[in-house]
């Protein structure tokens, strides 16, 4: 499938600009049950081809046949004409997670062309044309382009590539230190070390700002020497970067252009097996500004001087630019920011913009040279989500009766997606957070600042006291204990109850199940491939096969495990609220994993059984078989099924 079309597309490319060969190939494809859908010039055919058809066509007239996902890079095909090149490029683009994500979240999906929310595709008679796109929005639905942050944000930001949609989990960071041919273009050993130290410092700070402590960084460092000399002062902003960046990408084995950067970052993510990736160029070549980044990635650029801020602030500038990489906007007044817009993973407005926020807003990394995080940047960065689920009961933190009143008792209840069950975790330093109810704006508080076991957890307006601060600490099993700062005691469900409405309290940490919590939605990742379970195109239909795919942070890759009893769970997909099941309740080897409506059948129940640190086999109750990626394939879009447990990494999953 390319884009969000329900087609399994393949591509056939042959090396000669000969329409007769294309006709011959088309005939063979048709004869073997395939179908050509697109023909781009005489050399590129795109259509529906089975694996058998691809095998039959391959090598015929020197042709290469591949699934769309593995479409060859036109830059590797010297004899390809321009039409074929564009066709291949478009197919590859349609295969990118960013494109799929954009298609899965089409604005105004399902609305008639005549909706009042948008201009119709045809301009009314008497007008010159349709309205221009909104250039101020920070949302990321455009196709990958080269772009930079700007001080005014009046330009459309560069597209948010799916390599850095949100700051969660592990991010690969490629540090590329550019060495020119002359001393003035080279970093000394000491300068290189300083750069690495500053980057570690900046990213270390960002990691500590994320609730739950799940953000970390995986590094690659490349020192790349090129022979390019300085360009003339008359070069434009883009030309200055092109001059050194293109030979750098060539030296790294990628295409000598911006697309090479994207390919490098995507490859980096795959090689290091991380959820996200971006790269940072450090250069002494003249650049258009001392620091800049593409909103949404894939790259940021910095010089070694950091202008008047000096190199001692390189860590903060780097962290600031990394904020842009993950979708956060500038908040200082001269950036031209405003308090509207739709920024970052959650599409939140820029409420802390200095120009319009009450009192000029609060100090924040995106506004000032300060190790400070306001309440809004975490949402832009995509921290969270933060409904808290108790491990033993599968229920989430809530307030009695959904109350928004100060003093209301915090309880556990069955997840219903209500706003009263969702919390925003604001980092306040030292690993502590205030947990703000999205329904009331109040924060979780230990009543009366008591330090006693059994003290109630309630909601109260924020007063800054230690009894309103909590520190989540990872327990290594995917769960956290959540400690109150003033008492050091843990968030606890009274009497280990599994009932709706059971009160939350604090209690001395004793490592029981009723003191273990997790943020409820998360990916399920295959060990052998690093890919995650994915409901293709975010379909909400039943009986849709669940595949493995690159992680893109979409809700169709987020799942919740609800305990049903006796160690069995149902696995709920966030985007559809359907549950995972084995198709047709089949007990056959290879039967597919699909999503469907919850019926309570045994084919909808799974048990995660730990098989090594951090990994589980996931056993289907009705068959006793384990979830399995067939043939240990590491390719994307491979349907997941059940298979007898064989101990392979393709049957080991991280939850």
């Amino acid at each position: 499938m390319a884009g969000d079309l329900p087609l399994a597309e393949s591509v056939v490319v042959h090396p000669r600009a000969d329409s007769g060969i294309a006709d011959s190939l088309t005939e063979r494809i048709n004869d073997t049950g395939g179908r050509v859908l697109h023909r781009f010039g005489p050399q590129v055919l795109i259509g529906q081809l089975t694996e058998g058809t691809r095998l039959q066509v391959s090598d015929l007239h020197g042709a290469v046949a591949a699934a769309a996902r593995n479409a060859p890079d036109p830059d590797d095909l010297a004899d390809l004409d321009d039409t074929g090149r564009l066709g291949l490029q478009a197919l590859r683009l349609r295969e990118t997670p960013g494109f799929l994500r954009a298609k899965a979240h089409r604005p105004l999906a399902g609305k008639g062309w005549g909706t009042a929310d948008a201009m119709p595709p045809d301009a009314p008679s008497g007008t010159a044309g349709a309205a221009p796109p909104d250039a101020l929005s920070g949302t990321a639905t455009a196709l990958p382009t080269q772009g930079t942050t700007t001080g005014t944000q009046s330009l459309a930001p560069a597209a948010a590539l799916p390599t850095s949609a949100r700051m969660t989990g592990v991010t690969a960071v490629g540090l590329i230190i550019v060495q020119g041919p002359t001393a003035d273009l080279q970093f000394t050993d000491a300068e290189r070390t300083k750069v690495v130290a500053e980057v570690q410092n900046g990213l270390g700070w960002l990691a500590t700002m994320e609730p739950g402590g799940s953000v970390s960084w995986s590094y690659e460092i490349r020192v790349v020497s090129i022979t390019t000399t300085k360009g003339p002062d008359s070069l434009t902003f883009a030309e200055k970067e092109d001059r050194w960046r293109n030979p750098v990408m060539a030296a790294l084995g990628f295409s000598a252009d911006f697309a090479g950067v994207t390919a490098y970052v995507q490859g980096l993510r795959n090689r290091l097996g991380t959820e996200w990736a971006y790269c940072a160029f450090f250069t002494k070549y003249p650049i258009g500004h001392f620091a800049y980044a593409s909103i949404g990635g894939p790259r940021l650029v910095m010089d070694n001087g950091v202008d008047g801020w000096t190199i001692e602030n390189m860590d903060r500038v780097f962290a600031h630019e990394t904020g842009h990489i993950f979708g956060a906007p500038d908040e200082y007044a001269s950036s031209g920011c405003n308090c509207a817009g739709s920024w970052g993973f959650y599409g939140k407005p820029n409420t802390n913009c200095e120009s319009c926020a009450p009192g000029g807003g609060t100090s924040c990394l995106m506004r000032a040279n300060d190790w400070a995080m306001c309440s809004w940047t975490p949402a832009h960065l995509g921290f969270g989500p933060v409904p808290l689920m108790a491990k033993f009961s599968g229920k989430v933190a809530d307030f009695s009766g959904g109350s928004t009143a100060a003093g209301a008792q915090a309880v556990q209840s069955t997840w219903n997606g209500g706003v009263n069950q969702q919390f925003r975790a604001d980092p306040v330093g030292g690993g502590y957070y205030r947990l703000v109810s999205l329904s009331s704006g109040n924060v979780l508080t230990v009543a009366d600042a008591s330090t006693a076991d059994g003290a109630k957890i309630v909601q109260q307006p924020w007063n800054g006291g230690d009894s309103q601060l909590f520190r989540p600490e990872a327990l290594g099993d995917g769960y956290y204990r959540i400690l109150a700062k003033h008492s050091g005691k843990a968030l606890d469900v009274t009497a280990a109850s599994t009932a709706d409405g059971a009160n939350l309290q604090q209690w001395t940490w004793g490592a029981p199940e009723n003191q273990r919590w997790r943020w409820i939605w998360g990916p399920i990742r295959a060990k052998h491939s690093g890919k995650v379970l994915d409901v293709p195109a975010a379909s909400t239909a039943s009986d849709i096969s669940v595949a493995q795919d690159d992680y893109n942070g979409g809700n169709n890759q987020q799942f919740r495990l609800d305990p049903i009893g006796d160690g069995w769970y149902r696995i709920v997909a966030q985007h559809s609220t359907k549950v995972l099941e084995i198709s047709g309740a089949s007990t056959s080897n290879g039967a597919k994993l699909v999503q469907g409506n919850w019926t309570g059948g045994n084919h909808q129940l799974f048990r995660p059984e730990p098989v090594e640190n951090g990994y589980y086999r996931i056993v289907a109750k009705h068959s006793g078989q384990a979830l399995d990626v067939p043939n240990s394939s590491t390719a994307s879009r491979v349907d997941v099924g059940q298979w007898p447990w064989n101990g392979g990494d393709n049957q080991r999953w991280r939850l």
């Binding site: 700007t150 001080g151 290189r192 130290a197 500038d330 327990l475 290594g476």
Partner: protein, 114 residues
């Protein structure tokens, strides 16, 4: 118990990412440099010292013979971390000032420059 940041050199055959999956209570991964270095915040250093997966724990310095075993980029990562850890307290220009404070240029270019 005080938390401190350390750099771990892992034993052969223990991948950094794999090691991070073993993180337990009081042990938090900050960053990894594949395949064999991990930066972590730890509560109990003694527990790590007993871990067969940990070859060497770096706090403030590293012996030459250990350094010599590392690749050039590993050495750069480690030395950067040591510099960060051992450097004197920073004297920051414009500390806590807005990025567009008078006398300073914000880290992002103005729109008309691109």
């Amino acid at each position: 118990m005080a938390t401190r940041e350390v750099l771990l050199l892992l034993s052969g055959g223990i991948a950094a990412q794999e090691f991070s999956d073993r993180a337990s209570e009081g042990f938090r991964i900050i960053s990894v440099f594949p395949p064999s270095m991990v930066v972590a915040e730890v509560d109990d250093l003694e527990e790590l010292q007993r871990d067969p997966g940990v070859r060497f724990i770096v706090e403030d310095s590293v012996p030459e013979e250990v350094l010599d075993e590392l690749t050039e980029s590993e050495q750069l990562f480690l030395q950067g971390w040591l510099l960060k850890r051992t450097a004197p307290e920073k004297k920051r220009a414009g500390d806590r000032l807005p990025w567009d404070a008078p006398g300073f240029v914000p880290p992002d270019p103005p729109a008309d420059s691109t």
